[in-house]
C-alpha cells in the first residue's frame, strides 16, 4: 500500500522516452551516450561507494591484500580478426581491467552465449585462444557457464569474463587521484585495434593487413608499479579511444588534461587508414594499450622501465595533467593552436563528405 506507492515513485525511467525510445548502438560506443546510460540507468539505481568511482574494476575495502573484481563482455564482430579472436580478447580484456586497478589478476570466470549453428571448429579455436591467453597472463579459468540461443539471435558467440585479482602492495590507483604535473604515458602506437577490426568489416576493406594489438598488460603494470610509487591512475583506452579515457579521468579528478599532438604515437598504416576514413585516431578503440598517469618526478624512471618491457618498447609521454580547464581535455596542435578534445559522441562514422 504505502510501500508500493513509494517504490513506484522512484521507478520513472531516468532516460525520458522522448530522448531515446530504444537503445542505440551508440549507447555501447564508449562515449557520451554510454556514459549517460551508465550514470542515469545503472549508477543511479545501484548507487554505492565502490560503483561510484566508475573505474575499470571495483576494489574491495579492507583486507591484505585488497581484492579487485571486474567484468567485461565481448560482442565483437567478426569473431576472428587479424591479430586475434574474441576468446583472446575476452581473457586479455578482464586481465587488463584488473591490472588497471593495480591488481595482479588471479582467477577468471567465463560465460558463453553461443548462437545455434556456430561451427564446433570455431568454438574449439576460441577455447584454445583463451587457454593460451590465460597461460600467458598467469590466470586460471575457475568457473563458467554456457548457454545456446536460437539461430539469428547471437552474432556467433558472445563471451563475458569476470575476474578477481589481488591489489599489489603500494598500489593506490584511482581515477580521482590525477594531480597537476602528472605525466601521461602511453605504451605504444594508438588506434591499432579499431582499425584492424574496420579492415575486415563489411564495406571498409584494406588489402594490407593491420593486426590487432590485443595483449595482457599485467606484466607491464607490475613493472610500472615497481618503478614508481607515484603512479596515480591507470586506464586502458578501449572503446571511445584515448580521447574518451582522458575525458573520464579529467571528470573524475576534476583536473584538466593537456595533450601534445606531435607526441602522439601513430603507425603510418593506421594513419593512412584514418585519413581515408576520416577517423580521428584519438577516438579509435585500442587493446593492449594503457595510459599511466605518473607524478612528474617519477615519470622518467617509469618510462625507462616501460621501454624495457616487450609491450612498452615504444612508450612515450603524450601529455600532462593541469589545473586549467578542469574536467576538460585539450590538445596543442602541431600548427600551434589548441583545441578541445571532446568525448566521443555517438559512433564514429567514417567521414566521406
Amino acid at each position: 500500500m504505502n510501500q508500493i506507492a513509494d517504490l513506484s515513485a522512484g521507478l520513472a525511467c531516468p532516460i525520458p522516452l522522448s530522448e531515446y525510445k530504444n537503445v542505440l548502438l551508440a549507447h555501447g560506443g564508449g562515449g557520451k551516450l554510454t556514459q549517460t546510460l551508465i550514470q542515469k540507468m545503472f549508477a543511479s539505481r545501484f548507487d554505492n561507494q565502490m560503483l561510484d568511482i566508475l573505474h575499470d574494476g571495483a576494489v574491495f575495502p579492507g583486507g591484505s591484500p585488497r581484492y579487485a573484481f571486474s567484468t567485461d563482455s565481448y560482442v565483437i564482430k567478426p569473431i576472428f580478426f587479424p591479430g586475434g579472436d574474441i576468446g583472446e580478447l575476452a581473457v586479455n580484456g578482464t586481465v587488463n581491467d584488473l591490472a588497471m586497478c593495480g591488481a595482479k589478476p588471479l582467477y577468471l570466470s567465463s560465460a558463453f552465449i553461443i548462437e545455434e549453428g556456430l561451427p564446433m571448429d570455431d568454438l574449439w579455436k576460441i577455447v584454445l585462444s583463451m587457454k593460451a591467453a590465460a597461460d600467458r597472463s598467469g590466470v586460471s579459468l575457475v568457473t563458467g557457464d554456457t548457454k545456446v540461443v536460437d539461430r539469428g539471435k547471437g552474432d556467433g558467440i558472445f563471451i563475458n569474463t569476470s575476474g578477481i585479482g589481488a591489489v599489489l602492495p603500494h598500489a593506490e590507483i584511482d581515477p580521482r587521484n590525477a594531480r597537476r604535473g602528472d605525466r601521461i604515458i602511453v605504451n605504444g602506437p594508438i588506434a591499432v585495434h579499431g582499425i584492424a577490426i574496420m579492415s575486415v568489416r563489411e564495406g571498409l576493406e584494406f588489402d594490407t593487413e593491420i593486426r590487432s594489438d590485443t595483449a595482457p598488460l599485467n606484466g607491464l603494470v607490475e613493472r610500472i608499479l615497481k618503478a614508481g610509487k607515484d603512479v596515480h591512475v591507470l586506464r586502458d583506452p578501449t572503446r571511445g579511444g584515448v580521447a574518451s579515457a582522458v575525458n573520464e579521468i579529467a571528470q573524475s579528478s576534476g583536473k584538466g588534461i593537456l595533450l601534445d599532438e606531435e607526441a602522439l604515437p601513430i603507425g603510418e598504416q593506421v594513419r593512412g587508414a584514418c585519413e581515408i576514413l576520416g577517423f580521428d585516431p584519438l577516438y579509435v578503440a585500442n587493446e593492449g594499450k594503457l595510459l599511466a598517469f605518473v607524478a612528474a618526478g617519477s615519470a622518467g624512471r617509469v618510462l625507462q622501465e616501460m621501454r624495457s618491457h616487450p609491450l612498452g618498447k615504444e612508450s612515450v609521454i603524450i601529455g600532462e595533467v593541469v589545473d586549467d580547464h578542469p574536467g576538460i581535455a585539450v590538445m596543442k596542435s602541431r600548427v600551434g593552436g589548441t583545441r578541445v578534445v571532446d568525448m566521443l559522441s555517438g559512433e564514429q562514422l567514417p567521414r566521406i563528405c
Binding site: A26, G203, R334, V335, G336, G337, R339, E347, P350
Partner: protein
C-alpha cells in the same frame, strides 16, 4: 604521409601567419566555402593565428548540411521498407529528419549500410538480386561523378535492382546567391579545392568580375588554407578581384574533362532547395530521363512528405555565414552532437559540430 605532412608543418604555418599579419592593413571578411576547410580552420586553431581585423565566416560547403529535409524524410521512408537495402555514406546517418534519423531506422531493424564508395553499393545490388538497393547520392561536384558512375555502371551491367536517391548541389550558384543577398558582408572567397579538381575554375571568372570579389581556389591542409587566406588578402589589399589557384598541385583550370563528360551524360542541371537557405535555381543535379529506371525518387512512392524543422535551429543563418555557431542560443544547450537540432551539428564538416568539438564554445575555449 607524402603530400599531406608537408602541408601541416608548424614552422611554415607560423611563418604564413606572420606574412598575413604583415600585409593586412584593413578589416576584411573572407568566407571559406568548403566544410573540409572549416574543419581544418577550427581543428588547427587557424583563426587564432590571424590578425584581429580578419574575419573568417564559414560557408555552406557541407553537402550533408544542405540536403533538403524533404529528401532526408524520403530517404528514411525508403530505408524503412523491408524490401530495401539502403546504402549511404556514413555522415548522412545522423542527420535529423522531421522525426528521426537513418541511424534510428537501423536501430529499429531497417537494413541500412554504410559504404565507402558508390561502387560498393552497386556490388551489394549485384549480390542481393532479391532486394532493392538504394544509394543515397549526396554531395557537391566532387562526389557527383562517382555517383554518376554508379548509375552508369548499373545501367550498363543491367543491375535493375539498383537505384540512386539523388541530392546533388552545385557551388557556383550558391556563391552567387550569397553574393547577391543584401545581408552579405563577404569580400573574398576561398573556393573549394576538390570541387574545382573536378570542375576546374572557369565558372568563377564571371563571378569575380560581376561582384568584384577575389576568389582563390584553396586546398585543405593548414598550410593550404593559410596560403589561400594570404593570397586573398593580398588581392584585397591591392584592390584586385581575380581568380587565383592556390591548390595547383591538384587543380587545373579546365578540371577533369572525362569526369565532366560523365556528369553531362547522367545528370541534368535542376533547381534545388538548400536546407536552411531555400531554393536556388539551377543549383543541383537530377538524373536524366534515360536513367528513370534507376531513379529512387521515381521508383518509390512514399506518399506525401510533410516536413518539420526545429524552431530553434538557425542552420540557414550559419550556413550563409551570417552568424557563428556559438552565437546560436541553442548551441551547446538544446543542440549538441547527441541531440542535434540541425544538420551542421551532426556532420563532421558542419560548422556547429566543428565548433562544439574543438572548443569554440564559450567557457570551453582554453585560450
Amino acid at each position: 604521409m607524402k603530400y599531406i605532412d608537408e602541408y601541416r608543418d608548424g614552422d611554415a604555418a607560423g611563418k604564413s601567419a606572420e606574412m598575413i599579419r604583415r600585409i593586412t592593413t584593413r578589416e576584411w571578411t573572407l568566407m571559406e566555402i568548403c566544410g573540409g576547410q572549416t574543419h581544418t580552420i577550427v581543428k588547427y586553431g587557424i583563426e587564432s593565428l590571424l590578425p584581429p581585423g580578419l574575419t573568417l565566416v564559414h560557408g555552406p560547403g557541407c553537402p550533408v548540411c544542405v540536403t533538403p529535409l524533404e529528401i532526408i524524410d524520403r530517404a528514411i521512408a525508403i530505408a524503412t521498407r523491408t524490401d530495401v537495402i539502403f546504402t549511404s555514406f556514413g555522415d548522412m546517418l545522423r542527420v535529423p529528419g522531421s522525426s528521426k534519423d537513418l541511424l534510428t531506422v537501423k536501430a529499429e531493424g531497417g537494413k541500412v549500410r554504410i559504404v565507402y564508395s558508390p561502387l560498393d553499393a552497386v556490388r551489394i545490388a549485384r549480390e542481393n538480386p532479391d532486394m532493392k538497393v538504394v544509394f543515397f547520392g549526396v554531395g557537391f561536384e566532387t562526389t557527383a561523378p562517382a555517383n554518376a558512375m554508379s548509375v552508369f555502371q548499373a545501367k550498363k551491367q543491367g543491375i535493375k535492382n539498383f537505384s540512386l536517391l539523388c541530392s546533388h548541389v552545385l557551388v557556383p550558384p550558391a556563391i552567387e546567391a550569397l553574393l547577391s543577398s543584401p545581408a552579405n558582408r563577404v569580400q573574398g572567397f576561398l573556393a573549394a579545392g576538390h570541387v574545382c579538381t573536378v570542375m576546374g575554375y572557369e565558372e568563377y571568372f564571371p563571378i569575380a568580375e560581376r561582384y568584384h570579389v577575389p576568389l582563390v581556389v584553396t586546398g585543405f591542409e593548414p598550410l593550404d588554407v593559410l596560403q589561400g587566406i594570404y593570397m586573398t588578402v593580398r588581392q584585397l589589399e591591392e584592390g584586385r578581384c581575380q581568380v587565383e589557384n592556390q591548390y595547383s598541385r591538384s587543380v587545373r583550370r579546365e578540371g577533369n574533362r572525362p569526369a565532366q563528360d560523365l556528369l553531362k551524360q547522367v545528370f541534368r542541371v535542376s533547381d534545388r532547395t538548400w536546407r536552411g537557405i531555400g531554393e536556388i535555381p539551377n543549383s543541383g543535379y537530377a538524373l536524366r530521363e534515360e536513367y528513370a529506371d534507376h531513379d529512387a525518387e521515381k521508383i518509390f512512392d512514399v506518399g506525401e512528405i510533410r516536413t518539420r524543422e526545429s524552431p530553434l535551429c538557425i542552420a540557414g543563418t550559419i550556413l550563409q555565414g551570417l552568424k557563428k555557431p556559438n552565437e546560436c542560443t541553442a548551441f551547446g544547450r538544446e543542440c549538441t552532437p547527441e541531440h542535434p537540432l540541425g544538420a551542421p551539428m551532426v556532420s563532421s564538416e558542419g560548422a556547429c559540430a566543428a565548433y562544439y568539438h574543438f572548443g569554440g564554445y564559450t567557457g570551453r575555449t582554453p585560450s
